[in-house]
């Protein structure tokens, strides 16, 4: 008969050796081999079980219990070690994969819209939201649309103030000289004529952005710049509406409640005419270098459309009235963004463009 005590002792030896072996296993493969060695079909425990048959019937269940207990202990120890090894492997992987996260990210070089474009977009959007329709017109104009139809006859002193670029060897069919438009106001004439020709009847509200040209080139003048012409014709349009639209636009554009001041002025195509000032956006009206201490900054010219202008396109000036104004885009962008020099816009230094343009 086999000695049950010897078998029990053998089991204890196996358990102890296995636990030590598990602890010594450096990776999952080694551990897997140990599992086979101790718990496999031909493993150490199985070997012990082969001797059970030689035990007395009453000893058998005892040794059975011991074997099961040892088996469970082995399995638990193995599992424990597996977890340990998995954690160790993970830690090693994390360490190996550690990155210097202070290195710069891969650049997606962003493009940018020109600040004048952004200004045009913002300005146009405010009016588009108010129901103004966007219109454009030619930059090469004739004297009729640029001057005569706008109530500026040839002998008019205001015509001289426009510093017009004329074009060589270019004439209209009726032999008028052609020129580069000096303002976006001719779009008033063209838009109204087109609208009426298509059978429209006021109300008509238009916003017309575009490039304009003046023969004037120094620190504060560029021979090419951008304007936006805005006008509305309807029954009972009043100067109060002009002020309301200006106030809404300027406050929206400057993203704050700006004070506006209208001063009587003179433009041939409006009557009454007004220069429009805003409360200085730099000093909140207290007076600074930019506003020359006045607290006001001139931003645009405006007025009620002159009846002669309405008549020139065939609108009854008794029944309808309208307001119009034209604003200089560069000037508004300079004021909003604090850009000190007009020339920066046309120099197109990419450092300026990246800084001032909205990245895409």
């Amino acid at each position: 008969m086999a000695d049950i005590d010897a078998m029990i002792e053998q089991l204890d030896v196996i358990l102890k050796a296995a636990v030590d072996a598990f602890a010594a296993a450096g990776d999952r493969e080694a551990l897997q081999q140990l599992r086979v060695r101790y718990l496999g079909k031909k493993g150490a425990l199985t070997e012990v079980l082969k001797g059970v048959g030689k035990l007395s019937p009453e000893d058998r269940p005892v040794i059975g219990q011991h074997v099961n207990r040892t088996k469970a202990a082995l399995a638990e120890s193995l599992e424990q070690r597996e977890i340990e090894l998995a954690e160790k492997a993970k830690t090693a992987r994390i360490e190996a994969e550690k990155a210097d996260i202070t290195l710069p990210g891969r650049k997606k070089t962003g493009g940018a819209l020109h600040p004048v474009q952004l200004g045009l977009d913002e300005i146009t959007a405010v009016f588009a939201q108010m129901g103004f329709v966007v219109a454009e017109g030619p930059e090469i104009e004739d004297e009729f649309h640029n001057f005569d139809a706008l109530n500026i006859p040839p002998e008019h002193p205001a015509r001289a103030m426009h510093d017009t670029f004329f074009l060589k060897d270019l004439q209209t069919n009726d032999e008028q000289p052609m020129l580069l438009r000096t303002h976006t106001s001719p779009v008033q004439i063209r838009a109204m004529k087109r609208f009426l020709a298509e059978g429209g009847e006021p109300p008509l509200a238009v916003v017309a952005p575009g490039r304009v040209y003046r023969c004037d080139y120094d620190v504060t003048h560029s021979p090419m710049f951008h304007q936006v012409e805005v006008f509305k014709v309807d029954r009972k349009v009043s100067m109060a509406h002009l002020k309301g639209v200006l106030k809404h636009f300027l406050s929206t554009y400057f993203e704050k409640d700006v004070a506006i001041r209208l001063r009587p002025h003179y433009f041939p195509f409006t009557e009454p005419s007004a220069e429009v000032d805003i409360g200085c956006v730099f000093c909140a009206g207290k007076g600074c270098r930019i506003c020359k201490g006045s607290g006001w900054i001139e931003v645009l010219g405006s007025g009620m459309i002159h009846p002669n202008v309405l008549k020139s396109v065939g609108i009854d000036a008794q029944e309808f009235s309208g307001f119009a104004f034209g604003l200089g885009v560069e000037r508004l962008v300079m004021l909003k963004q604090g850009i000190p020099d007009l020339r920066l816009f046309f120099e197109n230094d990419v450092r300026f463009l990246r800084r001032m343009g909205a990245s895409r």
């Binding site: 891969r106 997606k108 493009g111 819209l113 020109h114 474009q117 588009a128 108010m130 129901g131 329709v133 966007v134 030619p138 930059e139 002998e155 002193p157 670029f165 004329f166 074009l167 060589k168 060897d169 270019l170 109300p203 509200a205 040209y213 023969c215 080139y217 021979p223 090419m224 309807d234 349009v237 009043s238 100067m239 109060a240 509406h241 002020k243 309301g244 639209v245 200006l246 106030k247 809404h248 506006i260 001041r261 001063r263 009587p264 002025h265 003179y266 009557e271 009454p272 007004a274 220069e275 009620m304 009846p307 009235s321 120099e347 197109n348 230094d349 990419v350 450092r351 343009g357 895409r360």
Partner: protein
């Protein structure tokens, strides 16, 4: 225009400060550029009494003065002037004073004698252009007083920008009228001294044959004047108003013009021959203008003649020989009303602007013509002696610009302004010279002769708005129209998504820049009056502007640039001219900078082609790039035209090496341009079900002849592979070791897919074989072993 405050106060008793007056002027529509204190610098100049005068021991032309300036001890002053004597009172600039000419007074020795100050002339005080000696002050000047205060030198000058419609305000009285009406003050009468007419003096004979352009002409003789400088106060006034003193007679006329707005002219009667006539030029007459120019006149110019020559371009400038000089004894004074349009046209033709022409052009007051002449006569005879004859008058002042009436309703004006017009405002307009009668809603308004700018109800509405104040008009939003949303042009917005910076360059370039990319100057549109040669012609391509911008930036340490511009190009056509919208790109230098994750890479053709393709894709368009070696300014072998459908819509390529070299641009430069007006409508995205069955991807690598177009290869692949093909592209391109000379190894990856089933090996073999066959047949290309 500059107006001294004291001059305004002579017409209306203004009690407010210059700043307050400036605010009123602005509110009334007269822009105040600045309120200047031009003579604030004369502080420290005091009235001195010369107590003794002895010659300088070491200098013949210097005197030693002791001057009492009201201190305990008189000052010792060395003086170089000759015109003073003991007992005279003179201005003394004390130690530490800064004079208007910039001189600072210090204690010093002149030829060994101590000098503790300086006696001043009118010029040194900024009161006159030049002066022969010291300014001798009146005997009643209090010794020790500030000369500036005594002479009332320190005053504000308003620098105004008068709008061209307000000719009536190009003078002190017109502005005073507006201010007085606004403040409810009385406008003073014009100071008119009696003129005693010398009946023995013949009135000038004047014939006006151009009555349309010259409806009123007055002339009078003044005989026996002694022309000298005008008095210091007048010179000072003229200088403050920004005009140069000339001689006594001219200064008086200028002074009255500034004050009352009527330009006048004086002829030297002894330089004229025969009678005066005012008529239109026949053309070809010669005219020697006062400013030194010699003109040949055009038919229609309004001229003043004597029997032998043109003595004035009416309302603009007199002739050189007939002008008044220091030696003039007898003069003929002219005061007239010349029609605005005539003066304006002539002034424009000869680019000859004068103070007179500016006023005639904007319209003067016909009723002021005689008043101004009377005032001038009185001043001239008082200051320079002589006697005045009777006035010759051609024309009737009361017939000019008179009897004009505007009728309208108060409610009409109110609806245009958006405010009520209280009846009290009628008084303000009445004080401005309007005759107003209001009956219920009806207004009847008589317009004064000096208001050339008022003729319609809207003009009246502006007058009311001015006097009520634009600030009183409320801010109301009009009813907003609801309109269909407008399709926004996003061309430039789409173009900057790929790392491009939008630039804005001038639409005019130099002729030589134009020739870089566009042959033949026949279609160039040239400016008649360019600012410079660099801005002479309207661009026909955006590329020159982009090249300049790129160069500007490369010169500023930029390693590479990617630029895009949207704008117009302009050219003559058979029908006239056209302006087209284009978008243009430029890339040069580093497309990829040296980074920790990537090596530096120079931009090449395919960077730009990719950008253009991506931009087209955003618009639902696909471009075909057709090699074109004949595009001006681009390098053969790296240039193509871009076709959208059948439309040639653009060009792309590498800028010719010589052009780049001329601009010192070392790296290759790539440009593209697309005509936005030529682009068709793009495809709109359409829904298609996602594939349910997996596709099969296969690679085939062939050896092709070197110049084979990949476009042609892929087209051949697509037509050979059969209906299951969903994609075919080049995934590898190699030439060099292992590839025979003259050949390229090109890898093609194609994808097959069927919506109804999973594909089999057989499917992909069929397609592969078809492709291999096609490559063999079409390009004699075999699989790379």
């Amino acid at each position: 225009m500059k107006i001294p405050f004291s001059c305004l106060k002579k017409h209306v008793a203004l009690a407010e400060t210059p700043t307050e007056i400036a605010n009123h002027l602005v509110r009334l529509g007269h822009e105040v550029e600045a309120v200047e204190l031009p003579r604030a610098a004369v502080k420290g100049v005091r009235v001195g009494l010369i107590e003794s005068k002895i010659p300088h021991p070491d200098a013949d032309k210097l005197s030693l003065l002791t001057v009492n300036i009201g201190e305990n001890e008189p000052l010792a002053i060395v003086c170089g002037a000759m015109n003073m004597g003991e007992g005279d009172k003179v201005p003394v600039a004390t130690i530490g004073t800064s004079l208007p000419n910039g001189m600072k007074i210090k204690k010093g020795k002149i030829r060994g004698e101590v000098s503790c100050g300086m006696c001043c002339s009118e010029a040194e005080l900024g009161l006159a252009e030049d002066a022969a000696g010291l300014l001798i002050l009146p005997a009643d000047a209090p010794v020790g007083a500030e000369v500036g205060e005594f002479l009332e030198l320190e005053e504000a000058v308003f620098d105004l920008s008068i709008t061209p419609n307000r000719g009536d305000c190009m003078n002190v009285r017109g502005l005073a009228r507006d201010l007085a009406a606004d403040a409810g003050l009385a406008l003073a009468d014009i100071d008119l001294a009696e003129v005693t007419v010398d009946a023995t003096l013949a009135a000038p004979k004047v014939t006006v044959s151009a009555e349309q352009d010259c409806p009123l002409y007055m002339a009078r003789s003044i005989a026996g004047v002694t022309v000298s400088d005008s008095p210091a106060w007048m010179q000072a006034g003229l200088i403050m108003a920004g005009m140069r003193p000339v001689n006594g007679i001219v200064d008086v006329l200028n002074f009255i013009m500034l004050d009352l707005g009527q330009p006048m002219h004086a002829f030297d009667a002894d330089k004229l021959s025969g009678d005066i006539s005012i008529r239109s030029a026949l053309g070809g007459e010669n005219f020697a203008a006062l400013d030194g120019r010699e003109l040949t006149l055009n038919a229609g110019d309004l001229l003043v003649f004597d029997d032998s020559s043109v003595i004035a371009l009416a309302g603009i400038m007199g002739s050189q020989p007939s002008g008044v000089s220091d030696g003039t004894i007898n003069i003929i004074l002219e005061s007239a009303f010349f029609r605005q349009a005539r003066v304006s046209e002539t002034r424009r033709i000869y680019a000859m602007v004068s103070e007179a022409s500016m006023r005639f052009e904007r319209g003067v007051d016909p009723l002021m013509v005689e008043i101004a002449m009377q005032r001038a006569t009185a001043m001239i005879t008082n200051l320079f002696g002589g006697s005045a004859g009777a006035i010759t008058v051609c024309g009737e002042p009361g017939n000019i610009n008179s009897g004009r009436q505007v009728r309208c309703s108060v409610s009409h004006l109110e609806s245009r302004l958006g405010i009520d017009i209280p009846e009290a405002m009628d008084d303000v307009l009445a004080r401005m010279g309007f005759g107003i009668s209001r009956k219920g809603d009806d207004l009847q308004i008589d317009v004064p002769s000096f208001r050339h700018d008022v003729s319609i109800p809207e003009d009246i509405s502006e007058e009311y708005a001015r006097v009520i104040g634009f600030d009183a008009i409320p801010e109301l939003l009009p009813p907003l129209a609801t309109t269909a949303p407008v399709q926004k042009d996003t061309a430039i917005h789409d173009a900057v998504t790929g790392g491009f910076l939008q630039v804005v360059s001038y639409a005019f370039i130099s002729t030589s820049e134009q020739r870089l990319f566009v042959a033949g100057d026949g279609a160039d549109i040239e400016l008649a009056n360019p600012i410079s040669d660099a801005m002479r012609v309207m661009r026909r391509s955006v590329w020159p502007g982009l090249l300049n911008t790129a160069k500007h930036n490369l010169n500023r340490q930029q390693a590479g640039v990617a630029l895009v511009e949207q704008g117009r190009v302009y050219q003559k056509t058979e029908a006239g001219h056209e302006e087209n919208n284009v978008i243009a790109w430029l890339m040069t230098g580093e497309a990829q900078t040296d980074e920790w994750f990537a090596a530096v890479r120079q931009a090449d053709f395919f960077d730009l082609k990719g950008a253009v393709e991506a931009w087209l894709a955003l618009r639902g368009l696909t471009g075909r790039f057709i090699a074109d070696d004949a595009i001006q300014g681009l390098q053969a072998g790296q240039s193509a035209k871009i076709l959208i459908g059948r439309v040639e819509a653009g060009r792309i390529g590498r800028v010719d090496g010589d052009i780049a070299a001329a601009l010192d641009m070392d790296a290759p430069v790539f440009v593209a341009e697309i005509d936005l007006d030529a682009l068709p409508e793009g495809k709109k995205a359409k829904f298609a079900p996602l594939p349910e069955f997996p596709g099969v991807e296969r690679d085939l690598v062939f050896l092709f002849d070197k110049d084979t177009s990949s476009d042609a290869i892929l087209n051949a692949v697509k037509s050979a592979a059969g209906k299951l093909l969903t994609d075919a592209r080049v995934f590898d391109l190699y030439a060099g070791k292992g590839v025979p000379e003259g050949k390229i190894s090109l890898g093609i990856r194609f994808t097959l897919q069927d919506a109804k089933r999973t594909l089999t090996q057989e499917d992909s073999d069929t397609a592969s074989n078809a492709i291999i066959g096609a490559m063999e047949k079409r390009f004699a290309a075999g699989l790379r072993g």
